[in-house]
Symmetry: C2
Subunit: 205 residues, 2 copies
């Protein structure tokens, strides 16, 4: 294996299990040693590849978190069809992974924001950037949907985006350790109820 490829592979391994542990136990409650123990690697190896724990985490954000948010929360809602249906399916799928206790990157995002808020402005900046990307993409999707006649023309797309992100982040918090499946079902039913109220009213035949 090429030397730089091996370097990349090791860094990738560290980042993946790093994100996993940070996600489940929190950043401050996870020591560098915890991550290294999981991988049977040494501290020397860690500081050979990364400058510090903070830099390590920022690289995780840039390399893993951003891309996962894109692939799970942004790309699935891009299409020329009805954006409300796309968003519904996107949330449905994302919440289903949450029911199975798998990692959900939208939730990871809001979790980390809670942890770093007021403590580490540098990391907060990175997290807020991702959130902004998510928001902008939802707004764009909704505006296109309005243009294509799926959403009522009086609707404020920025407001809908904020409302959607809020409800998603909130339901994920509520789905932690308490009848997640039932709550997911109830949430989705009201999301659809809300969507019916902002969709383009059919012209009577």
């Amino acid at each position: 294996m090429s030397t730089s490829l091996k370097r990349m592979a090791t860094m990738q391994r560290m980042q993946v299990t790093g994100l996993e542990l940070f996600y489940t136990k929190g950043y401050y409650n996870t020591s560098v040693d915890d991550i290294l123990k999981e991988l049977s690697l040494s501290k020397g190896a860690f500081y050979y590849h990364f400058e510090s724990k903070e830099d390590f985490f920022i690289q995780i954000i840039e390399n893993l978190l951003v891309r996962k948010v894109y692939s799970m929360l942004i790309e699935p809602m891009e299409s020329h069809d009805n954006p409300l249906e796309k968003i519904t399916n996107c949330f449905e799928n994302a919440l289903e992974t949450a029911v199975h206790n798998e990692m959900d990157f939208g939730f990871a995002l809001s979790n980390f924001m809670g942890e770093f808020n007021g403590k580490n402005p540098r990391i907060m900046k990175h997290l807020q950037d991702i959130l902004k990307i998510w928001e902008v993409n939802i707004v764009t999707t909704l505006q296109k949907g309005k243009f294509n006649g799926f959403i009522d023309r009086h609707i404020d797309c920025e407001a809908v985006a904020v409302y959607l992100m809020s409800s998603y982040i909130g339901i994920r918090t509520l789905m932690v350790e308490s009848t997640p499946s039932a709550r997911k079902y109830r949430f989705m039913s009201q999301l659809k109820q809300y969507f019916r109220s902002i969709e383009q009213k059919q012209v009577n035949a």
Copy 2:
């Protein structure tokens, strides 16, 4: 001053500033010494009144958090009038305190749940109990509203409650450190939009 009164006063002071610091800096990131420094008290005083940091926090939950959630998020929505209006006003007021960076106990609740999730089941239990109380009260309020003809009879009140709690917890997370006032405004506009879709349709005159 009676001796037990003095005891109560000191414990109360510790709990109030304890909650303040735990809320702003997080539980694990706030040391007992931090709280004591704020009050110019010593470690001895703390462990004279409380068994441990954990017990201290649980007493804070029971004595302060529960009551504040009641007075800010539950009692304001109880009435014989339109519950949707009451809930709107209640959220409006609660979010306004958030804009001014004052303490918001509903948000504190979800913050603490994020922090203790997977780390301290005992404390999690207490927090989830409060959340359940909130949920039950919203459901009751909505059902009464349905009975009194303010809410459409086909609406699932449990689902609405979950959706409301989700959106509230989520918007509070989003209002941290990024144009909170604009987001509050957008959120409220869509909350009202959603409420219009579940209210009792007027019978045509």
